[in-house]
């Protein structure tokens, strides 16, 4: 099984070090790379650090912090992992979101010395918004607190309180005391914490199960190609299963049709499932990029107003402003019709109801009035329930759909 894991938490709590340790202990690092890092550490008069396997920008070494997200791949004892490191600085939240958006599960890293800090809170708020519910908590730097059990229990209580306030299911959550620097409870059991009887981090990750919920068919149209005089509609099955001879509808174009063929380069298919990049041929009708296909009996519904929860990474966004909204392959313009609540992305607290504008790093519940568009509620079909906001060709924010059809 392959699992996407993101490590989140405050700056200096040891995310990069922990990943470096995982890679090193799983023997995923080439000898040459180890030598290279040793040489580099000498040259820059630093102590050898596992984090240098990840922080490959010179600026990152000099500033001793992660600036950009990075994904590395390695094989654990059982699963195959893509593990993503994100920066723990508020300044680089954009990079954190980029890295976290692909994750199936998250590992929250909290320093036993410092406990919950600003980015611990913000990262967990944002993960919750992105729908990443499966979280493992590691209390790191246990070596710096003499592997003290009471210290761990105190941290655990403090973290649970925070996560409970964001509605995470902390009752089923694993809390693991580790030292990434020394390698305790990461890949190998710790000799220093005999009082801990739970799994190591790698064993916990190897036990992950990814639930597959049954969802209705949705196919996002990317383009129309003419192949040997036939109009082939290319795109990706976002959810469910598409079969030859299905009766379908494309929205917002409103085209009803029958699927005559499902084509890939290698030949024809009888069916295609979620994730498949395919081409289809229908018995007539003009569709376009951005259309969403569904079965006639469970069709996608076009909307012109939806409620979303979004986080802003630009200076500000004002009521009445028009931005570009991208969802699936659709790109439409949408007006900020209503800002219902401005939310603190660190604490989740409502800062203001019905404000005129929001600012950088604010989250908010917003009603967007758009050109006809298909969006789905994130809780139902997440693949088409998340969107990005674009202004002047820059991606400035992202969010999830809470209500796909708001009556104006």
């Amino acid at each position: 099984m392959s699992v996407n894991v993101v490590l989140v938490g405050h700056v200096d709590h040891g995310k990069s070090t922990l990943i470096g340790r995982l890679l090193y202990d799983s023997e995923s690092i080439k000898d040459e790379r180890v030598e290279e890092i040793q040489k580099l550490a000498e040259e820059y008069k630093r102590k050898f650090e596992f984090a240098y396997f990840l922080d490959s920008f010179e600026d990152e070494l000099k500033e001793e912090r992660t600036i950009d997200t990075v994904s590395l791949m390695f094989k654990g004892k059982k699963n195959f992992y893509t593990i993503t490191d994100v920066p723990g600085h508020k300044e680089f939240i954009k990079n954190m979101l980029t890295g976290a958006s692909h994750a199936d599960v998250a590992v929250l890293v909290v320093s036993a010395e410092e406990g919950v800090q600003e980015q611990t809170r913000r990262h967990m708020f944002l993960l919750k918004m992105l729908g990443i519910k499966q979280v493992f908590v590691v209390v790191n730097k246990m070596d710096a607190v003499e592997y003290n059990k009471e210290r761990f229990e105190e941290e655990k209580e403090q973290i649970s309180k925070l996560l409970d306030s964001f509605d995470y299911a902390t009752g089923e959550m694993l809390f693991i005391p580790v030292s990434a620097m020394e390698g305790d409870n990461i890949y190998k059991y710790s000799e220093h914490m005999k009082w801990y009887d739970g799994p190591t981090l790698i064993d916990a990750l190897d036990g992950v199960r990814l639930e597959g919920k049954e969802k209705p068919l949705r196919f996002a149209v990317q383009d129309i190609y003419k192949v040997e005089d036939e109009e082939t509609i290319v795109g990706r099955v976002e959810s469910g299963i598409l079969r030859r001879a299905d009766n379908v509808v494309f929205e917002p174009s409103g085209v009803k049709a029958k699927v005559e063929k499902i084509n890939v380069f290698d030949g024809e298919l009888a069916e295609a499932k979620a994730g498949d990049s395919i081409g289809i041929i229908i018995n007539g009708g003009v569709v376009k990029r951005g259309d969403v296909l569904g079965l006639l009996e469970k069709p996608p519904k076009p909307t012109n107003a939806f409620l979303g929860e979004a986080v802003l990474l630009d200076k500000n966004l004002k009521k009445g402003e028009v931005v570009e909204i991208r969802c699936g392959t659709a790109k439409v313009s949408g007006e900020i019709k209503e800002i219902r609540e401005k939310i603190d992305s660190e604490t989740g607290a409502v800062l203001e109801s019905n404000p005129e504008e929001i600012n950088e790093h604010d989250a908010a519940t917003i009603v967007f009035a758009t050109e006809p568009l298909v969006v789905e509620e994130f809780a139902e079909i997440p693949e088409l329930g998340r969107f990005v906001l674009v202004k002047a060709n820059r991606n400035i924010g992202a969010g999830v759909v809470l209500n796909a059809d708001v009556k104006m």
Binding site: S2, E27, K30, D31, E32, R33, K39, L40, E43, F53, L54, S56, F57, E58, D59, I67, D68, T69, V70, S71, L72, M73, F80, T82, K94, N95, L97, T98, S101, H102, Q222, D223, Y225, V227, T232, V234, G235, R236, N263, V264, F265, D266, G275, D276, S277, G279, R289, L313, R326, T329, R386, F387, V388, V390, N393, R394, N395, I396, G397, A398
Partner: protein, 271 residues
């Protein structure tokens, strides 16, 4: 990720870029990665590759690479174009003048001049995250500014599969474009397993062992050296890679001349 998943994602990326940009092109170095990317283009566009295939010729490539290039271009029938920095070549640029200088003149500047002339707004490149720490930091859609530079400190927000598609600007210098990386998420082993599975992806024979050595990564003749290996077939290469502790680009001299060489090269627009 399984091979099917990797392929699906690459096809999705290729189609997104083709829909969003007006004038794309793909870079081909005749190596395993970019040849696999060409194969993925054929899959994404159901046969023909609908844009030019650019080879940046430094004049220092291996003879076998030129032979391979001309043979595949003819077999697959795509629009092969060759970009060179003739001026620098005439002036005698070579690796002995410094590897950073040489790569920058013969690769980066050759590409920059070619882009300027042909006004491509997107370039497909077959780099992979697991090749190098600096490449691991890349976005799938990665903008290059007016000076051709990679602003790695301020990369776009790229969530889920929503890429930032900034077009070419209308004014000023015209080197700005978007690099699109369709196989960024593949590992070296994935590429070889895919070549094994697909059967029809051509492989340069230099990748296979001859007298106990084979090339693991192909580049310019003076700066590329082979590794010790006995792998003579695709199957044997796959087996070798499953257990090796040697880095893929260990035979590529330009990465190693000094610390952060790759970052410096790439910030200037190197691939």
């Amino acid at each position: 990720m399984g091979l099917k998943e990797l392929e699906n994602k690459s096809i999705y990326i290729l189609r997104e870029a083709y829909a969003e940009f007006e004038n794309p092109a793909i870079l081909w170095s005749m190596g395993k990665d970019s040849t696999t990317a060409l194969w993925l283009c054929r899959k994404a566009f159901l046969g023909e590759i609908p844009f030019p295939v650019i080879h940046i010729d430094t004049g220092y490539k291996f003879k076998q690479m030129y032979e391979f290039r001309d043979r595949i271009a003819e077999e697959w029938g795509f629009d092969l174009v060759i970009a060179k920095n003739e001026e620098a070549m005439k002036a005698g640029m070579g690796p002995e003048k410094g590897k950073l200088e040489c790569c920058t003149a013969l690769k980066t500047e050759a590409l920059m001049n070619y882009l300027d002339k042909h006004r491509f707004d997107a370039l497909f490149l077959a780099i992979r995250r697991d090749e190098h720490g600096i490449r691991a930091k890349e976005r799938v859609f990665s903008p290059r500014d007016e000076e051709f530079r990679w602003n790695y400190r301020d990369q776009p927000l790229e969530m889920w599969d929503q890429y930032q598609t900034q077009g070419r600007s209308e004014k000023g210098a015209v080197q700005n474009h978007t690099r699109v990386h369709p196989i960024l998420h593949w590992r070296e082993l994935d590429v070889w397993e895919y070549i094994k599975q697909e059967k029809d992806i051509p492989v340069n024979p230099m990748y296979f062992a001859n007298d106990g050595k084979r090339y693991r990564s192909l580049g310019c003749e003076p700066c590329t050296s082979p590794i010790e290996s006995t792998a003579k077939t695709i199957d044997e290469v796959v087996e070798e890679l499953r257990t090796t502790k040697v880095a893929e680009r260990s035979g590529r001299a330009q990465d190693k001349e000094k610390a952060f060489m790759m970052q410096k090269l790439r910030a200037l627009g190197y691939m």
